[in-house]
């Protein structure tokens, strides 16, 4: 599960942690506060191959659409189906029930190269 030690981040506010051979991906609390009022999450298709940095998901709020980037390369092996009925779960539990998708990692070294908690916080001025 998400915690400050095991998570890595993108400057674009995605977090990821390792669960077996998969990376679980979501967005930070800071990001959900900025986006606010999430009303739809356009999740990627299971089975899709993504490259690190690829736009693979869209989070829609009342006011805007935010692109979500894959932190690591690999295959989408699961998506959070609960978001179809309750997209605001990302607002309420960005680090837990509001996870977005899981990627079966092609190269675990990509994960290690991501920002750690302190570096991410520094990037958002905290």
């Amino acid at each position: 599960m998400y915690n400050e030690e095991n998570c890595r981040f993108l400057k674009t506010h995605e977090w990821a942690f390792v669960e077996g051979e998969n990376a679980v991906v979501g967005i930070s609390n800071h990001a959900q506060e900025e986006i606010s009022d999430i009303v739809f999450v356009d999740l990627p298709k299971v089975g899709r191959q993504v490259k690190a940095g690829e736009n693979c998901c869209v989070i829609e709020s009342v006011k805007s659409a935010s692109e979500i980037y894959a932190p690591v390369s690999g295959e989408i092996v699961a998506v959070n189906e609960a978001l179809n009925a309750d997209p605001a779960l990302v607002n309420r539990e960005p680090h837990a029930g509001g996870w977005l998708f899981k990627i079966k990692m092609a190269d675990p070294n990509e994960f290690n190269a991501l920002l750690d908690f302190a570096a991410y916080n520094a990037s958002i001025g905290k």
Partner: protein, 358 residues
């Protein structure tokens, strides 16, 4: 070069109330305070207030004030005491410069409330046309601030501050005295709910804002305002209407009174109406989840038919949008709207999406 944003007299009060400030046509205004969904709900079910001080006020004074306004408006300007008229200001080609409301203060004096982004252009256009009339036009936009108080309980709340306002009929104006200054109240709005808009000099507006906060009125931002107005089927000038579109195409044929003797754009409108319009502003409701936005393409029977000019997520109706598309597609037909490369089915519907008692 940094562009200095204009601030309304309520800017500090909005920031103090938690307003998330954004650039709106060169003005620093709150897009939201709480959540857009919560603000929308407040206006639909109770009451919310908006800082609309960026909007413009033009005063038209003179023996031929009414005659002048009839000439620059495609609608028939009402001239009963305190009556207001929604109208469009058109080019000679019959296309839309702005939409506005003219309030009759007396037969020789009208107050015209116009869109913020169009104040300078409207004023210049009025001044240009005014030379042929015994009339003077002044731009009072910098002097006035304005709060829109909207929702089913809005007029009752306004009555606590302005006793008697509950008896003001829809689309009428009343001169008021509040916090030691003279101003106006109109029973108008841009949300599809009952409500009032109160104009006061800049120095007095914060006292009104604070009085309304004390009465429990929820501050609301541009985000909720856009959802509310789109649900109510109101045009956003600059997006849904511009100088390439006539009122007929903008789904506002009712605003044009060709029976009127003469007005700017009349000849062009007669000719264009006779020729017919290939596209019109059509309304769409998504059948599947998603949020349609300005710029999304619309397809009918597999062929691109138009582009959205406004779209949003409505807490009442989910994905809703308007855009210029073929005028021959029947209401009830299915189209597809392309959102982030995904074609989402939508139904062609009539506006307004939301209709209540006002």
């Amino acid at each position: 070069m940094t562009h200095e944003l204009k601030k309304t007299a309520l800017c500090a009060a909005c920031e103090k109330a938690g307003g998330k400030m954004v650039d709106f046509h060169g003005w620093l205004l709150p897009v939201q305070f709480d959540s857009i969904i919560a603000e929308h709900k407040a206006v639909r079910e109770a009451c919310g207030m908006f800082d609309v001080s960026h909007m413009g006020q033009l005063r038209v004074v003179g023996k031929e004030a009414l005659h002048f306004l009839q000439y620059v408006s495609c609608n028939i300007i009402k001239s009963g005491a305190s009556e207001g008229t929604y109208f469009h200001i058109l080019t000679e080609q019959g296309t839309i410069i702005d939409d506005a409301i003219a309030f009759c203060l007396n037969l020789e004096e009208f107050l015209v409330v116009v869109n913020a982004a169009c104040v300078d252009e409207d004023f210049a256009w009025f001044q240009k046309q005014a030379s042929a009339f015994k009339v003077s036009v002044t731009n009072e936009s910098a002097k006035w601030s304005m709060i829109a108080l909207q929702g089913p309980t809005a007029v009752g709340i306004a009555d606590k501050i302005l006793p008697g306002v509950i008896d003001l009929p829809r689309f009428h104006i009343k001169e008021i005295e509040l916090f030691g200054a003279n101003g106006y109240v109109t029973r108008t709005g841009y949300t599809g709910e009952d409500g009032v808009e109160i104009m006061l000099p800049n120095a007095q507006i914060e006292a009104l804002w604070n009085a309304l906060l004390k009465l429990g009125v929820k501050p609301c931002g541009l985000g909720a305002r856009d959802v509310l107005r789109l649900e109510a089927g109101y045009l956003l000038n600059g997006a849904d209407a511009n100088q390439t579109k006539t009122p007929y195409e903008a789904n506002c044929g009712w605003v044009v009174k060709l029976t009127k003797e003469n007005f700017i754009g009349k000849a062009a409108l007669e000719a264009k109406k006779a020729a017919g319009f290939a596209t019109k502003l059509r309304a769409f409701k998504l059948k599947n989840p998603g949020v349609p936005r300005e710029g999304c393409k619309v397809f009918y029977q597999g062929v691109e038919t138009g582009t959205l000019t406004s779209g949003t997520f409505s807490p009442l109706f989910k994905g809703i949008a308007v855009g210029y598309a073929s005028s021959t597609i029947p209401v009830g037909a299915e189209v597809e709207i392309e959102i982030h490369g995904r074609k989402v089915p939508a139904e062609v519907v009539k506006t307004p999406f939301y209709k209540n008692r006002v």
